[in-house]
């Protein structure tokens, strides 16, 4: 093991995008676990929503787990992320625990925003994340700004952000892409084409697949199967390495499908039944489970153990979240202005590479 690990490490350095394997067995375990954790956490949240314990509206990323998990898995601790509303997996990978996610949905004091904001409008600053705003895709320019700061200071760090295909119709998207291209910023744009923007199908959002535009902004655009977590991870790793090495941005289009309504209130009546059925067969978690069984020598028991550990974790998280108090009304009047500046903290980076990479600067050498 030692040697193989060592050589694996070398391989990763030498040829991050090459044929040799970027992932160790433990990494694959984690990829499955994070996807399952996202699925289970969101399913638990839906139940809480149905029970009336979640105020406002509810959004999830069912069917898209491979994207946020696979992409975020490529990040180093000192990298930064602006995570969107279908991407709970990325929050989990960076270190947000399900209890704080559920608590945020319930508006509890223990939620990531302490009740100030709700549903997926959060990001844990102590984990290197800047929470999304609703206006889409405004975080794309913010990610460019994070990357600009890194570039100005000559830090080998990367900013990653996500957006849906519908958001690419917005001018904010264009301004961010164009700006990133001009300055060759170390930023990775993950485009989740889940076929719909709320009820609006691709053909009413754009005439040509937006990934085609990457080239016209001066950087690489790639398309991957968004339901294949390792494919997403490989594309993200290449993009992150490209950014870290100073070779500029990448736009990764992940082809997928939104398997739930836009929000819990949406019955998706506008989606053809065949389309749903076809994509159901491509469920990213089921697929990865088979991959692990068939190609990576995982046993059914091992996988069962992973999944049951996940459900135990989520059950405990729900208990914990429900135990959090609601915030004190007085808190509503605090925090409009900052008294002082405090830098973001670094996020978790579960990919085994970083364990091996300690101190070699691959964590970006940024604040940690």
């Amino acid at each position: 093991m030692e040697t193989s690990v060592a050589s694996a490490v070398v391989d990763r350095r030498a040829n991050p995008s090459g044929e040799r394997d970027l992932l160790e067995r433990a990494d694959r375990r984690e990829l499955l676990r994070y996807m399952a954790l996202m699925r289970a956490s969101e399913e638990r949240a839906i139940t809480l929503y149905r029970q009336g314990k979640i105020p406002g509206s509810f959004y999830d990323g069912c069917g898209q787990e491979a994207i946020s998990v696979g992409a975020a898995f490529a990040l180093a601790p000192a990298d930064r992320a602006c995570i969107l509303h279908r991407d709970l997996g990325a929050h989990l990978v960076r270190g947000v625990t399900p209890d704080r996610y559920l608590a945020n949905y319930m508006g509890r004091a223990g939620g990531v925003t302490g009740g100030k904001d709700g549903n997926m409008h959060f990001g844990d600053r102590r984990l290197g994340c800047v929470g999304m705003v609703s206006m889409l895709p405004d975080m794309a320019s913010v990610a460019c700004g994070l990357a600009l700061a890194m570039k100005m200071r000559g830090e080998p760090r990367v900013a990653m952000t996500f957006f849906g295909e519908g958001s690419t119709a917005n001018g904010q998207w264009h301004e961010a892409m164009n700006f990133a291209g001009i300055h060759e910023l170390p930023v990775v744009f993950v485009l989740e084409n889940n076929r719909f923007a709320y009820s609006t199908p691709n053909e009413l959002e754009f005439a040509v697949d937006p990934v085609e535009r990457a080239r016209t902004y001066g950087f690489v655009g790639v398309v991957v199967d968004g339901n294949d977590v390792e494919a997403v991870f490989r594309a993200a790793t290449e993009a992150v390495e490209r950014a870290r090495s100073g070779a500029g941005p990448t736009l990764i289009e992940c082809q997928t499908m939104r398997m739930h309504g836009h929000g819990a209130h949406d019955d998706m009546s506008y989606v053809p039944a065949e389309m749903r059925a076809e994509w159901a067969r491509r469920d990213p978690i089921e697929r990865y489970r088979s991959t692990l069984l068939e190609e990576h020598g995982f046993s059914a028991d091992e996988i069962e153990e992973i999944l049951s550990a996940v459900s135990d974790e989520v059950a405990a998280a729900a208990e914990k979240a429900l135990a959090f108090p609601m915030p004190e009304p007085a808190a509503a009047f605090e925090g409009v202005f900052a008294e002082e500046f405090e830098p973001l903290g670094d996020g978790s980076a579960p990919w085994s590479r970083w364990a091996h990479a300690n101190g070699d600067g691959a964590n970006g050498g940024g604040p940690s």
Binding site: P55, G56, S57, G107, R108, T113, G115, K116, D117, G118, N119, H121, V133, S134, M135, L136, G166, S167, A169, N170, G171, Q172, A197, Y198, S199, T200, L204, E205, F206, Y270, M326, P327, E328, P329, A330, A331, A332, F333, V336
Partner: protein, 336 residues
């Protein structure tokens, strides 16, 4: 309130039915589209889906994809295209999925649409529908009341109905107006507010406030979501309180505002939007300047706190003006 509504609706021709605020908006839009082929809708998910709040439910089937146009996620293009279509003789009605998103089409609204007629004598007959307001844990980005931004912009008309009848009558007027009109429809009232609405042709002119309740001791000036609480508070206090529903913020019915202020000598201005430079600041400044001699107490304002509208219920309730706060403010003024 119903008494007033009845007086209102007698202006209409058709039979009276009770509708929700949302049904009234829908009806006005549908009837205007039937009446005038130039009227069309433009917005996100308004077509086959019928809109995020179902205001255009069934429109796609009746009017087809051309007149119920599903727009991409691009507010500037929506407002800008509406300006162009309006100039070419159409009467676009844009829907912002939430009023908050007008910030994304702001430049087209304030620089292109609003200044067009003043600069070039080109009329821009368009309506921007703005589902606004909070109270249901919409959070900082789905609860905003952006009217004050518009009021600082010459060339925009701004209306904010508080009743189902006004929702219908003001939207009809807005669509027939030759200028850009910002139509603020409070999401919290969509289904909670119901009232008598006449069938068919029913128009409420822009720029006229409505005395929702007559009184002589104190005037509560409200619009949108603060009108119903004002009426309730007046009833509960059992005092001789007048409630003036502004309905239009631009043009502003300064005559009715000053008449009521002079009559009662005590005024509370109440709205859900934040306080600083809000519509209430303008109304209070107007009264303080023009009715100075007739005031028996300082003009008070009851508004949201100047913070983003938070998500969690206890926080949101602390921030948004509550009926209890209004009752307290009325008591203080009456006792002044």
């Amino acid at each position: 309130m119903s008494a007033v509504e009845t007086r209102e609706t007698t202006q209409g021709q058709g039979a009276i039915r009770e509708l929700t605020y949302l049904e009234a908006i829908s009806e006005a839009l549908r009837e205007e589209m039937r009446r005038d082929p130039a009227v069309f809708c433009l917005g996100q998910d308004i077509g086959a889906f019928g809109g995020a709040f179902k205001v255009t439910d069934g429109f796609y089937e009746e009017f087809g994809p051309q007149r119920v146009l599903d727009a991409p996620l691009a507010e500037s293009a929506i407002i800008g295209a509406a300006v162009g279509a309006a100039i070419e003789g159409m009467r676009p009605v844009c829907e912002m999925q939430f009023a908050d998103f007008i910030a994304c089409g702001f430049d087209q609204l304030v620089n292109v649409a609003a200044k067009m007629h003043y600069r070039q004598g080109i009329a821009v007959p368009m309506v921007v529908r703005l589902p606004s307001g909070g109270g249901f844990s919409g959070g900082p980005f789905h609860s905003q009341n952006p009217e004050a931004w518009f009021l600082q912009v010459p060339g925009l008309k701004v209306v904010a109905p508080a009743t189902a009848a006004d929702a219908k009558g003001l939207l009809a007027s807005a669509i027939r107006d030759s200028n850009p009109v910002c139509f603020l429809e409070h999401k919290g009232m969509y289904r909670s507010v119901r009232g008598d609405v006449p069938e068919g042709e029913y128009v409420v002119p822009l720029g006229s406030a409505r005395v929702a309740r007559e009184g002589a001791e104190l005037t509560v000036i409200a619009y949108g979501s603060t009108v119903a609480p004002a009426l309730q508070v007046a009833e509960e206090l059992g005092e001789d309180i007048e409630v003036l529903d502004l309905r239009s913020l631009c043009p502003l019915d300064t005559g009715s505002i000053l008449a009521s202020a002079r009559k009662t000598g005590k005024v509370l201005v109440a709205h859900e939007a934040g306080q600083t430079c809000g519509a209430g600041a303008e109304v209070a400044a107007l009264i303080a300047a023009e009715a100075f001699e007739d005031l028996d107490a300082p003009v008070r304002r009851l508004t949201a706190a100047d913070v983003p509208v938070p998500f969690s219920p206890p926080l949101e309730q602390a921030v948004l003006p509550q009926a209890e706060d209004m009752k307290e403010a009325c008591r203080e003024l009456l006792a002044y």
